[in-house]
Assembly symmetry: C2
Homo-oligomer: 428 residues x 2
């Protein structure tokens, strides 16, 4: 059957023209924010990552092979057969009471011991909690602070709300408090309406860097004094494989920090279940906005996670993940140590999924992506992790989803690409 458009094009041309005009008029219907919504760079290379001839060090997918699949399958089966009337039905917009209580236990493992289930809203992944936070706090033109670099998905969400995103300088210990203070002063001077600081304090995506313990309270205090909320995103916190655990910023600060957690990295991202722990005095509006987006989180998925947390040694499972990711991180660092040419620096993360590679200034890693692919390796250029996609001489490598031998092979393939780029840069 011919499509309407084909019929239009082949048929009477005047009518076709009129229709084409009528369609182009639709352009005027888009909202202002629509033009701010862009394709994630991670998604750009998603398709590429499926090519088996390439080694993809691009995507931060968790490695799920070690999950107790037989047990999870049985649990899902039982839930549907015996509790299908709840598991398949609409549920509370806030999420099930049982899972919210269990989430309090999960957060207690990280050092948040005063959370109440009433102040938790379960969301469609923590991405959706970021979306809700923007919806509730950001007018177009408002300012959001973030680490430089920061998570590309959060940048996309903030930009979709027409927030101005201001990156704050970081060093090997994370966000620099004095840089935060200075930038806030400058922005205030320029009339900025600053709503919140978005931070990934543990094993930052993309940098792998962890915010030092001694800086955490200082940063909350700076924000509190300036009436700026802290939006703490902690998907990787439990995936620490060396060094001492550090309490979240939320731990001692129930009133100034919105804390976001996720089951994507400690269980399974395909369930799309995350959460936000929201200060009591901000909770109602946050919750109502979450409900307006999707009515309620998927009931079956919440109940399956509850079963898993009750019926499986989930702490042991996280230990397994830790051992696995630690070995992969180690393999990548060893390969980098062995193969990287002079002039290349990289972070040595204590947890999480990512290593952040810095080349000499003047090199735009975006232009290296095609060359990497030619050489059989995919990475994410650093530009993706800053607002406005400014050219960057950095790039992100993910080791989470790739077996060690392949990690080594990927780094081997990457090395000559970087070497050539450095030589060319030196020659300029």
């Amino acid at each position: 059957m011919k499509s309407q458009l084909e019929a239009d094009m082949s048929g009477e041309s005047e009518l076709a023209l009129a229709r084409a005009e009528s369609l182009s008029r639709h352009e005027t219907l888009f909202s202002e924010r629509a033009s701010h919504i862009k394709q994630s760079a991670v998604r750009d290379v998603f398709e590429l990552s499926l090519d088996p001839t390439l080694v993809s060090l691009a995507g931060g997918n968790p490695y799920l092979q070690s999950l107790p699949l037989a047990k999870l399958g049985e649990m899902a089966n039982r839930l549907i057969v015996e509790e299908g009337m709840s598991a398949l039905q609409y549920g509370s917009g806030q999420g099930t009471e049982e899972l919210r209580a269990q989430i309090c236990e999960v957060m207690a493992e990280e050092g948040i011991t005063d959370a109440h289930p009433d102040n938790i809203v379960i969301t469609t992944g923590s991405q959706s909690a970021q979306d809700v936070a923007c919806k509730v706090f950001c007018n177009p033109g408002d300012t959001v602070l973030c680490e430089d670099p920061t998570y590309v998905g959060a940048l996309n969400t903030f930009e979709a709300y027409q927030a101005k995103v201001e990156p704050i300088a970081t060093d090997e210990h994370g966000l620099i408090p004095s840089a935060l203070t200075e930038r806030i002063a400058e922005l205030r001077q320029a009339g900025a309406n600053i709503k919140f600081l978005y931070t990934i304090p543990n094993f930052n995506n993309p940098s792998g860097i962890t915010l030092a313990a001694e800086r955490r309270q200082e940063i909350v205090d700076i924000c509190a004094a300036e009436n700026i909320l802290v939006l703490e995103d902690n998907p990787y916190g439990m995936l620490r494989y060396s060094g001492e655990p550090i309490k979240p910023l939320r731990a001692g600060n129930p009133n100034h920090v919105i804390y976001m957690g996720s089951f994507s990295k400690i269980l399974a991202p395909g369930l799309r279940i995350g959460w936000a722990l929201v200060p009591e005095h901000l909770f109602r509006r946050f919750y109502l906005a979450a409900e307006a987006v999707s009515l309620c989180p998927a009931t079956l998925n919440q109940m399956l996670i509850s079963e898993y947390l009750k019926g499986h040694d989930w702490r042991g499972q996280i230990d397994e993940y830790r051992a696995l990711y630690s070995a992969r991180c180690e393999a990548m660092l060893e390969a980098l140590d062995e193969h990287m040419p002079e002039g290349v620096q990289y972070t040595r993360p204590e947890g999480g999924f990512f290593i952040w590679v810095t080349l000499p200034e003047g090199i735009d890693t975006y232009s290296l992506l095609a060359k990497g692919i030619e050489a059989g390796v995919v990475f994410i250029p650093g530009a993706a992790f800053s607002p406005h996609d400014a050219p960057s001489h950095r790039l992100r490598l993910a080791f989470s989803a790739v077996p060690e031998e392949k990690i080594r092979e990927g780094v081997r393939r990457l090395a000559p690409v970087l070497e050539r780029a450095i030589a060319e840069n030196d020659a300029r």
Copy 2:
């Protein structure tokens, strides 16, 4: 352990005061739209509906008892055990290719035969598709047209984007084309920026009314001529139990209608899977906005629905639903015929979940809710289904989730409440 706030209150009072002030300053951080986001009236009575001494004719939950639970449980089990590496992993932001192809088959049953999987984006329920549509098209102050009455969840979403929602008059055949034309002219005159018409053409929620076949093309044409998109929400379309099926507005109009479908009513709402079929020239921005909200729809849930559509007689299952809801609708209509006092009118739907009851003017059904609850029956006052919660002399009864005997009992309990209200209204 004492909470921070308790500690503050009991401790040094100056410090406590300073902290309280600092918290109240947070009020200034909310976005303008945050104050437009309100609790759904349906959610208000959600808790009440759980009280077993009450008959709840409030919630439009589907009746899931007739689902093939053993089969669904087995499917979920197999998916997790054998395909867990995909089912539990991140997936495409657009949704799986397999389910998008199957959705084309589902839509073909309704009369949309030219849909292409590439133009579908799978969403977290169709509620989330409404949210994305607003995000992509509505600036604050833009106008959205809807039927009077219309779905409360959509109203909440539109108002969350600070859209002005303009209800258009309906009669027993649905939206009135001449009223639409007139209202558009008036609104344009007043400078309105109209973005789309939101319509539930089949068995409208809350009215149960179906838009007549002969009006459908006319309405699309009116909108197309005025450069207004049509947002067609069709969750109940397949649940017709009398009369002839009518093709969706999208059927002959691929370029002017965004069509939203859902598995919530034909399978299970707890999976939170819906979709939008978007005109090709509008697709990319719609899709990117959906991705910015939640990265991707839940993979396990999509794959489970795919298995169900492949491995079960889903058309037969819908036939069962039809027979069941038809009997319940019939029971409610019979009870209304028997018990309703003079002066009460109600719709006679040919499908869906709802009957819309009209009392004499001057009665505010919101004030009857407490009396209904006293008498042991819950309903939704009509005010919920219009923008601004204007007082309404109408109310919604849902028959979908309640067995026939209980429906009759509920209507019996409701009758004297309405009778008294009418007598009091007459006496004024």
